[in-house]
Symmetry: C2
Subunit: 140 residues, 2 copies
DNA sequence: GTATTTTTGCAACAATGTTGCATAAATAAT
DNA sequence: ATTATTTATGCAACATTGTTGCAAAAATAC
């Protein structure tokens, strides 16, 4: 499994360090689930939160992860599935945020909107955030 | 102009206090622009940030303002145009966030999406965030 | 195996979010 | 109007997150 992490690091010309491998493992395990800095702090053994913070920034910059905007206030990241290149994230991300357990996951599918943009405004990225309760938090 | 603010307070059964009036004035002036706690701290004279924080929470709860999710990390609020009732915000908000000046504004128009929601997930609110540069920050 | 580059871990600090509590202010009751 | 009651304010205090600088440690290059 670490092969996959190693491969990602190599492909993005990042040094193979313990922290980076561990963080990547977490993301690979998480699948569509987005992870915050503190999620990683909880998951790893002796994490230094500043290192994690910088690791995430590096990964984002390299196009390994993308920010999962969910309105929760804390920054979360999720694995980019279709390889995003450096500084060129595939935009138009949709995320679901469960305001019960706080979980955020990436959704498939594209966004189309009939929103009126004032003149002179230039759009670079679109985020679609769905809020509600996830399957696990459903009251039967 | 304060009449409008007073009217809003009365309609929502909120006590008419100096802070609330001032905050409402700011929102009425701001129009479609969303305001953060620190925006209000800058705009008012002797603001207590905790009071502002609580004022905003109260206003949100009463349906006077709604959170303008923009991925900026800080919570911003904007006036609800069509009266939202308590705990029943009119969902489906679209916001534009300028990552140059940081400004966030409410957009008109509705959102439709072709996003695939996993089974068992229940959506309560939708947010659509457009990121880019606003008219003021456009390079000529 | 050594030199060079990059990453890590720590200190330190800023901004924001949040709660408890005594005082002050606003409304209700007399 | 005055007092009683309810609610809001302002302060202290603290948690969390975001962020930068720097020396030591680790990873790659030579």
């Amino acid at each position: 499994m670490t092969e996959k992490a190693l491969d990602i690091l190599q492909r993005h010309q990042l040094r193979n360090t313990a922290v980076r491998r561990q963080v990547l493992e977490q993301f690979l395990q998480a699948g569509h689930k987005a992870l915050s800095n503190s999620d990683l702090e909880d998951a790893l053994e002796n994490p230094d939160r500043i290192t994690l913070y910088r690791t995430l920034k590096t990964f984002e910059q390299k196009g390994i992860v993308h920010q999962a905007i969910d309105g929760s206030g804390t920054t979360k990241y999720a694995l980019c599935q279709d390889e995003c290149s450096e500084h060129e994230h595939h935009d138009d991300h949709a995320h679901f945020h469960c305001h019960d357990c706080g979980k955020t996951i990436c959704l498939e599918g594209s966004i189309k909107s009939a929103v009126q943009l004032p003149e002179g405004f230039q759009v670079q990225q679109k985020h679609f955030v769905l809020e509600g309760t996830c399957a696990d938090c459903q009251p039967e």
